[in-house]
């Protein structure tokens, strides 16, 4: 059962009943789910969680849903000890939270399984979103599983290849003849007019709670302890804040010991309003027009930007913004050391972590968890030119060995005698 008791405004603290509502009527601030933690603490234990399914739903008592979930088995992704990457970066206690392996290959499955479950509880028959990629895929897949309709809104100039990952599930794709800002405004208006669950609009308070599960899992998989330092890519800032909330909740419930986990964020330099504000020492960010290949992080006016900056300051976290070439190198470094092919956001995280280590802002004695939020096949074009072409050979040993010599020179592999 859920221990959610109300929606509360993050700005003025006014409370509202649990309903598909996302904006405070008084100050127009964002609403957040609040829980009865005393009652929750009586029902939840490490053992009760450990006996749950290997998905986000092992934490169902900490989530705001009541009934059967719309469940594609999102979450409980691997937490990997990154010995090779750690050696390359000088971090002996580095872990990677690998959300590439979710059902639609990104962490968005966490938030959408919660949003779609809650939407169904509220009686919605249609899920909707505005998205250029991961969110659209997650919404489309979960709608298919739930037997709900799905409408996905995109700018009309989006590459066709990116749309297949949503259309294949039977979603209705709406190509809007306008800018990203136009899509934003249209969806805000449609959310008011149609009785559809826009997952990151009218059910946003529930949607965002799904991200807490990444924090829960990190702590559980580290042996019920919080890391010293979390490195998280920043788009709206919602994932960042909810990982922190997840760690705080586990502490409040007595499931982990209190620890100040440093929360640090990474962005692409072509869309870095939060990191720019952090570097300027202010909590007020200035919105930007995104210009980066890291499309999944290209949010120029991050809804949780202020809250992210507050958490960075409170936890003595840091921020880094990396160039597009650097993030491509980050993708390659992760793949070549740990065998994980991440999308551009993952490259931002790894390149940002590398920069922060070089700056002395991430310490070798820290237990560091870097969050890899999505798989690389969805952003192949970002690295297509960054990997060497195949060796072209004729079907002869001579041709192959000539190609080896040309590619590797003196370091070419040599045949080994059969043992």
């Amino acid at each position: 059962m859920s221990f959610a008791k109300a929606l509360r405004c993050r700005e003025c603290a006014r409370e509202y009943t649990l309903s598909p509502n996302h904006v405070c009527e008084y100050c127009f601030g964002p609403l957040e789910v609040v829980y009865d933690y005393d009652a929750m603490a009586k029902a939840v234990s490490r053992r009760s969680i450990e006996q749950g399914p290997y998905s986000v739903w092992r934490y169902r008592d900490l989530l705001p849903c009541e009934g059967d979930p719309v469940d594609l088995n999102a979450g409980f992704t691997p937490l990997i000890r990154a010995q090779n990457l750690g050696k390359a970066l000088g971090l002996p206690n580095l872990y990677l939270k690998n959300d590439c392996v979710n059902p639609t290959w990104s962490f968005k499955d966490r938030v959408v399984t919660v949003a779609s479950t809650k939407a169904r509880e509220f009686g919605f028959k249609t899920l909707a979103c505005a998205s250029t990629g991961n969110l659209a895929n997650a919404v489309s897949a979960h709608a298919a599983r739930a037997g709900m309709e799905a409408f996905v809104f995109v700018p009309s100039d989006l590459e066709a290849g990116k749309l297949l990952g949503s259309k294949i599930y039977g979603a209705n794709l709406v190509a809007v003849d306008g800018s990203y800002d136009d899509v934003n405004r249209l969806c805000a208006e449609l959310g008011d007019k149609y009785h559809w669950a826009f997952v990151n609009i009218n059910v946003r308070p529930y949607y965002s709670e799904g991200s807490k599960t990444m924090g829960y899992e990190i702590a559980e998989q580290l042996g019920w302890r919080a890391p010293d330092h979390c490195i998280v890519p920043l788009a709206s800032g919602s994932l960042f804040g909810k990982i922190y909330k997840g760690l705080q909740e586990l502490t409040k419930l007595g499931l982990i010991e209190e620890k100040r986990t440093r929360m640090s964020g990474c962005q692409a330099a072509g869309c870095s309003p939060i990191v720019t504000a952090y570097e300027a020492g202010t909590l007020n960010f200035r919105p930007v027009r995104p210009n980066t290949i890291a499309k999944s992080l290209a949010i120029g006016n991050p809804a949780d930007g202020y809250y992210t900056l507050k958490i960075i300051a409170e936890t003595e976290g840091v921020g880094a913004a990396v160039s597009d070439p650097e993030l491509v190198d980050g993708i390659k470094l992760l793949a070549e050391t740990e065998g994980i092919f991440a999308e551009t956001a993952g490259g931002v995280t790894i390149a940002g972590l590398k920069r922060l280590v070089e700056q002395g802002k991430v310490h070798p004695d820290e237990t560091v968890v870097a969050c890899i939020t999505g798989g690389g096949l969805k952003t192949q074009e970002a690295v297509a030119d960054a990997v060497p072409p195949a060796l072209q050979v004729k079907p002869t040993v001579e041709s192959f060995e000539a190609a080896l010599l040309e590619r590797f020179g003196a370091k070419k592999p040599v045949p080994e005698p059969a043992s």
């Binding site: 700005e11 996302h22 904006v23 008084y26 100050c27 127009f28 601030g29 964002p30 968005k108 979103c129 505005a130 998205s131 250029t132 990629g133 991961n134 969110l135 809104f153 700018p155 990203y180 800002d181 899509v183 934003n184 405004r185 969806c187 805000a188 826009f198 990151n200 609009i201 946003r204 788009a235 709206s236 202010t282 007020n284 960010f285 200035r286 919105p287 499309k295 999944s296 992080l297 290209a298 949010i299 120029g300 006016n301 991050p302 809804a303 956001a345």
Partner: protein, 81 residues
């Protein structure tokens, strides 16, 4: 009468201009500010515009195109990757 909830974000060079007063006067709109933060470097206001739908549309267009003010839904960026 229609209503629209928006967030205005002002570039530094416009912070001292009475844009909210002016859009209300020009387009016969009721402007109801709910939250705002104005400093020397950054200024934003969350407000509700109330009036005829056409006047709201024209007013938002004037604020963005003539005055260079960023206008977002009160939910900020909705489209996600």
């Amino acid at each position: 009468m229609a209503k629209l909830r928006v967030k205005f974000t002002f570039p530094p060079e416009r912070i001292q201009e009475p844009i909210i007063w002016e859009v209300g006067k020009r387009f016969d709109l009721i402007t109801n500010i709910r939250r705002a933060d104005v400093t020397a470097e950054v200024a934003w206001a969350v407000l509700e515009l109330e009036g005829d739908q056409k006047d709201i549309d024209d007013g938002v267009r004037w604020v963005t195109e003539e005055k260079g003010i960023r206008v977002d839904p009160v939910e900020d960026s909705i489209i996600e990757g």
